[in-house]
Structure formats: C-alpha cells, structure tokens
C-alpha cells in the first residue's frame, strides 16, 4: 500500500471515528436525559475519537518512515556475500548506492554484476514487506485507538478538556516549527563556516581589509589572490543600506504623516494603494532602472561639476533601493499613526496645539514602537537586497566611504561565490557561508537592539 493511499485511509478512518464517537455521545445523552447530562458537547466526543484514531497512527507512520531506509539497507547489507561485506567502508558505500541506483532505475557507476542484481531484488522485496508491515501496523493502531476511546465514552468523560489539550499541543508544535527551522539554518551555516575558519583564521576574515576570493583550482593557475578580509564587503552593505535608509526613512515617514493626518479620505484612498504598488515592483526592474537611468544620470551630473563618478556607484544603488523601501516605511507608519487613539488627538487639540505640534509631540511618540518596527523591516530589506546592487553598484570590493565609487555587498558576494561550479573544500565557496553567518549575527543584533528599544518606549494607551 503506498504512503498516499495509507494516508487517505487514515483520514477516512478518523472521519468515521468522529461520527461514531459523536453518535455514541448523542445516544448516551438521550438515555441520560439531554445533552446537558454529558460533560462536553457530543462534537467533542467525536473529535476526541478522531484524534485518538489518527494522531498515534500518524506519529508511528512518521517514525517508521524516518527509519525505514536505514533498516532496509542494513538488512540488505547483512545479506550480501562475505567478500562484499569485507570491502573497505568507502567501497561498500559505493556498492550500496549503486544497488539503490539500480532499484530506482538510475545509472550506476560501473558494470552491473549478478551480485548487485540479486541484492537489488532483495532490496525491492524487503521494501515491499516493509510497506505491508507499515500499513498493517498503522491501521491496527488507528482502529485500536478509535475503539479504545469509543469504549471509554461516558457522560463523565472530560472530552472537551482533552480535546483542548491536544489542540494546544498542535499549536505548540506549529509555533516551534519556525524556531527549529531557524536553528537548522543556523547550524547548517555554522557547519560550513567552521570549515571555512579552519582554513582562514577568524581574525583575518573579520578584520582583513582586502576581499579578493579568487582561489586556484589547479597549482599552475594564475590570478589567484585568495584574500578573505570581509571588512570592505560589510562596509559596502552598510554604506548602501545607509544611503537607502537616508532616502526611505524621511520620505516614508513624511508621506505616512501626510496620508494619515493631512490627506482627505478620497486622496488617501488613491495615494496609499499607489505607494504600495512600489512594493510590488520586482527588484530586477528596480535594478535596471538603477543601472540604465539613475547611474548614468549621477555620472553625467557629476561630470558637470567636475566630479569623477564611476559608472557603477553605491549612490545609484542606494538611491533606488531607498525608493524601493519607501512603501515599507510609509505604509506601516501610516497604519500605526492611524491606530493612535483619536482621544489623544482630541486631548492635544483641546489644549490648543496645532496640527504639527500634535503630530510631532503626541502622535509620533505614541506610534514610535510601530514606526521603529517599520524602519527595521526596511533596514533588513535593504541589507538583504541583492539584485539592485549587482546591477548598479558592481562587484568590486572597494573599502571606501565615498558613495560615488563602486562597492559591493555581502549578499552580492554570496551570490557570486555560489554561482557556477563549486568545490566544497575550497575557501572560496565556504567563504559564502562565513559571510552569511556574520550577516545573520548582524541582523540578529539589529533585531535585538530594536526590540529592546521598542519595549523600553512602548506606551500603553488605555
């Protein structure tokens, strides 16, 4: 029985469980004289039966699924002839993966020997047996669970409390998935980053002033420099993000204030969606806008003033990125300013404050936590943005604070390091993970700082 069919069958069983559980509760209620004699509503007895039917069986299924492969492989290896098992582990692994390839119909590395063929057949039969065992076990557990609860259904059974406990458990599981994913991501980056730091000292990476990750693949190659100082790359990210925030924060905030406090309803209903369209433009489109329109414009106007501007500049990328993240700032700030209670505006107006005094001294401070949240979202967008920088700011890692020169950012470097053929034992490839790790730590710190700030200044309204 295939896993999908088994799964559907389990679902069907649970639905049946729900109905028979509910029916028993209803009939019990009738005998006892009304639903009020039961501890819980009949639907809870049904749900409890369904839970007991599907959850234990499902978990068993999952556990079996995760161990199936290794158990079958182990059984198959145990059945191989003596001379095959005596092979060194590396060779044995090749043999096993060849046999598995044979089973799945993939190409194998060498010639197909009778030994492999028989092993593959053995493997297939083992797999069939395993699936049968799984199906039988899952169904038995499901039916047993269902019957057990069904027998226990009595007016005193606290079905609602148990159902609520199970639901709470499910909610906990769902909320931990995000956490575990984060932990998984961190661990995977950490693993590769540690391998990088085994080859390049941490201090060289963190404090080195030169970034030039070209490594020689063969001994005789030229042009390999292999300098892994991450400072220019991070400086580039900070420079471009700062330019972007310098554009987006004031413009976004001002437009939010205009929209929420000055614009009349009709204007607002037109302008706000228009602003939000900006957020929907693909970043690639912004990228070539930056590269084809903004960068030449800056270069030409720089030339008029006699300033030397490179054709790919941090300024162009930063400006366009700033425009891109305006809607994040404005839309979120507009929402939070609107959410400030009208009573605060009334209070300010009633002591004779002007509109601008009210906004400056009452509304913005009251909305500050939300505004900071919006700005933070914008910063993380700016730091994570890749496309615009690739197209408008270039790839050369200059350590400069001059926005008129080409710079590069962390995300761009990660992309360029990982594009194309890779060898995973070269520091060039592994450097991407080290960059990712430091970037991750950086944004994490930023988040923590912002959260502390928000918590400190959060005001209660009622």
């Amino acid at each position: 029985m295939s896993p999908l069919l088994l799964f559907l069958l389990l679902l069907l069983l649970s639905v049946t469980g729900f109905f028979i559980g509910r029916r028993k509760a209803v009939s019990l209620a009738k005998k006892a004289g009304g639903t009020s004699r039961l501890h819980s509503l009949p639907v809870y007895y049904g749900t409890l039966t369904a839970f007991w039917c599907c959850l234990p069986a499902f978990f068993m299924f999952l556990i079996w699924l995760s161990f199936e492969q290794s158990i079958i492989t182990w059984l198959m290896v145990a059945d191989l002839p003596e001379q095959a098992r005596a092979l060194p582990p590396a060779r044995l692994n090749v043999l096993i993966s060849d046999i598995q390839g044979l089973v799945n119909g993939n190409i194998v590395s060498g010639e197909v020997t009778p030994l492999m063929r028989s092993a593959a057949e053995h493997y297939i039969s083992l797999k069939g047996i395993s699936q049968m065992i799984t199906s039988v076990m899952v169904l038995v557990v499901a039916i047993a669970g269902m019957l057990m609860v069904h027998r226990q259904i009595k007016p005193e059974l606290r079905a609602r409390n148990q159902v609520e406990k199970v639901v709470m458990g499910l909610l906990v599981v769902c909320s931990t998935i995000a956490i575990f994913t984060t932990v998984g991501i961190v661990l995977s980056i950490l693993y590769e980053a540690v391998r990088f730091f085994q080859q390049i000292p941490v201090t060289d990476f963190l404090f080195g002033l030169e970034w030039s990750p070209q490594m020689a693949i063969r001994e005789d190659q030229v042009g390999s420099s292999g300098a892994f100082g991450a400072v220019p790359v991070f400086a580039g990210t900070i420079l471009i993000s700062a330019i972007a925030m310098f554009i987006a924060a004031p413009i976004g905030l001002m437009s939010a204030i205009f929209l929420s406090e000055y614009a009349d309803r009709r204007l607002r209903s037109v302008v706000k969606p228009l602003l939000e369209i900006l957020a929907g433009v693909p970043t690639v489109v912004y990228g070539f806008f930056a590269a084809l329109v903004v960068a030449p414009l800056i270069r030409n106007s720089g030339a008029q003033f006699g300033i030397d501007v490179s054709s790919e500049s941090a300024l162009a990328a930063g400006l366009v990125m700033g425009v891109m993240i305006i809607p994040f700032v404005s839309s979120l700030s507009d929402d939070v300013i609107n959410a400030v209670p009208q009573s605060l505006r009334d209070g300010a107006y009633s002591v004779g404050a002007t509109r601008s005094e009210t906004i400056k001294d009452v509304l913005v401070p009251a909305a500050l936590p939300g505004i900071v949240g919006g700005l933070l979202l914008a910063v993380s967008r700016a730091i994570g943005e890749t496309m615009i920088v690739v197209m408008a700011a270039g790839l050369s890692a200059n350590l400069t604070a001059n926005p008129l020169q080409a710079v590069t950012t962390v995300t761009v470097q990660i992309v360029t390091l990982l594009v194309g053929d890779q060898e995973f034992d070269s520091p060039k490839t592994l450097a991407a993970f080290a960059l990712g790790l430091v970037l991750f730590i950086g944004t994490l710190l930023l988040n923590i700082i912002a959260l502390t700030f928000v918590r400190k200044y959060r005001e209660r309204y009622d």
Binding site: S343, D346, G347, Y349, S350, G352, E357, P365, R460
Partner: protein, 281 residues
C-alpha cells in the same frame, strides 16, 4: 478607522427634520462669559442641534443633561470648535466669547482652544511623563521660558487639580501608569496649565468609581472660583451637586434652562420632569 467611528456617532444624532421647539426658562445671565444664539449643528445634511440659545455665566457651573443622543456633547464641542476635526460638521449661529464670534474667520482656533479648555469622557493623558503631560501645552504656547517656570506651572496646576500630593515624587513616570481617577485629574491639570478661562467637561466622571467621582466633584467646586465651567453629565445627582444652572436637552433642542435647584424641584416642562424623575430616558 476614525472615520467609521465618527460616522457612527453622527448617525446616532441624526434627527428627523422638523421645527425647533422653544426653550423654557431664562437663557441669559447678568454677567455672561459666553453667549450662544441660534446655534445649529449639522452633520452633512442632517441636523443635530436646533436653534440653541444660552448664556454661560462667569464663574458658574452650567450642567447639561438629557438622554443619550440629545446633542449636549455636540453642543459642548461647538464651544471650543472641537467639532472642526469632524469632516462634515457645520455650525451656524453665533457663539460669542469676549464679544467675538468664535466661528468668525478672523478667529484663530489655536489660541481659542487654549482659552477654552476641555476634559473628556475617557481620561486621555499623553504617552509622556506626568510632568510633561502638564508642561507640554504651556511650552508650545510659549508661556514657559525656563525650567523654573515649568516647575512652577506643573506644581500649581497639579495642586489645583488635587493631584500634587499623590504624584509629586514620581513626576517622571508615565501618565498612563496612574489610576483612572488620577488620570482624569491629570487631564484637568493639563487643561488648567494653559490658564484657560472656560473649562468644558464632557461626562468627566463616567469612567470613574464613586470615590474618584467625589474627588472630581470637589475639584469642580473649587475650580468654579477661577474658571467658568460647562459640564455634560448623565448623572442627575452630579448635576444637582456641582452646578448652579442646568440645561435640559432633548432630541437636539434646548428644552429648559434654569437654576439647578428649580429644575430639579419644580421643572416647568413635562419632558424635563419626566426625565429627572426617571420616567423617561
């Protein structure tokens, strides 16, 4: 969000078009601070208040009572032009303050509101410290020039509002951290801080417990010596305790005005009598 809220309030006050009813009782007083004549208020094309004429005397407490939706809060908000913040609200008639119509185009609403302060139904301290809640308004009006000015205004305002003793050791804590009654007194201190001449109170005690209410009522009694006060209230006991004159509103009309004692002992209009004896509303 706010638009929806405003709309709701407006709809509550919509009245069927009809002739206004005459007011019973003496509307004028010997030394008026504000004079209202033929005030009409419209929300869009619906009329919420009809031809209300009444004087508010110097150093008196005028109570406005009436069933919900009768227009008393709307009328109160006309007196310092708080209705300006509602989009489709229109006011006609005359409201004289210092012999000038406050709806005249030459009047600047900002200093006007500093002269005619307001206290709201729900305490609404700013999300600032207690000190800043009081000091902010005088500062934006340029009344405060130095730190010592500010300290002085904060102390006297809080003292007048009867809150000084309770908060003098924690002026740097947020105003929202106070209890409901303390917050309301903080809002009164905030209104007093700009030295207004008239204080409008819109059901200032409806969110408070009896002890806090009693404190606010004592405070109103004290404030009367320096300020003119107009108060909207749903509690007839409160009206009879704190006010010298009472005005009864009904469906947008000012039905009856008179000395508080007279209104509550021998009302002239049947509607007034029904309302204060609890047979109506």
């Amino acid at each position: 969000m706010q638009e929806v809220l405003n709309k709701k309030n407006v709809e509550k006050r919509i009245l069927a078009p009809r002739e206004s009813r005459d007011t019973i009782g003496r509307i004028n007083v010997s030394n008026p601070r504000m004079i209202c004549r033929d005030v009409n208020v419209y929300y869009g094309d619906k009329q919420a208040i009809r031809n209300v004429s009444i004087d508010i005397g110097c150093n008196e407490v005028l109570a406005m009572i009436g069933p919900s939706g009768c227009g008393k809060s709307t009328f109160l908000r006309c007196l310092n032009r708080m209705n300006d913040t509602i989009d489709n609200c229109r006011v006609t008639g005359e409201i004289l303050f210092d012999d000038k119509d406050i709806y005249d185009s030459s009047i600047d609403v900002v200093p006007l509101r500093a002269q005619i302060g307001m206290v709201f139904q729900k305490p609404n301290p700013f999300p600032k410290t207690i000190y800043e809640n009081v000091a902010w308004a005088p500062r934006i009006h340029g009344i405060i020039e130095s730190k010592s000015d500010a300290d002085e205004i904060v102390e006297t305002s809080l003292q007048k509002a009867g809150l000084w003793g309770e908060v003098k050791d924690r002026l740097d804590q947020p105003g929202n951290g106070l209890s409901g009654g303390q917050q309301q007194r903080l809002c009164i201190a905030r209104a007093i801080a700009v030295s207004p001449e008239v204080i409008l109170m819109d059901e200032p005690c409806s969110a408070l417990d009896p002890i806090a209410t009693a404190k606010i009522e004592d405070l109103i009694e004290e404030l009367r010596t320096q300020y003119t006060i107009a108060i909207v209230t749903h509690s007839m006991q409160q009206a009879s305790r704190v006010s010298q004159r009472t005005a009864f509103f009904h469906l947008g009309d000012l039905i009856e005005v008179g000395a508080t004692e007279a209104i509550f002992t021998k009302p002239s209009h049947q509607l007034t009598e029904d309302y204060i004896t609890g047979r109506y509303g």
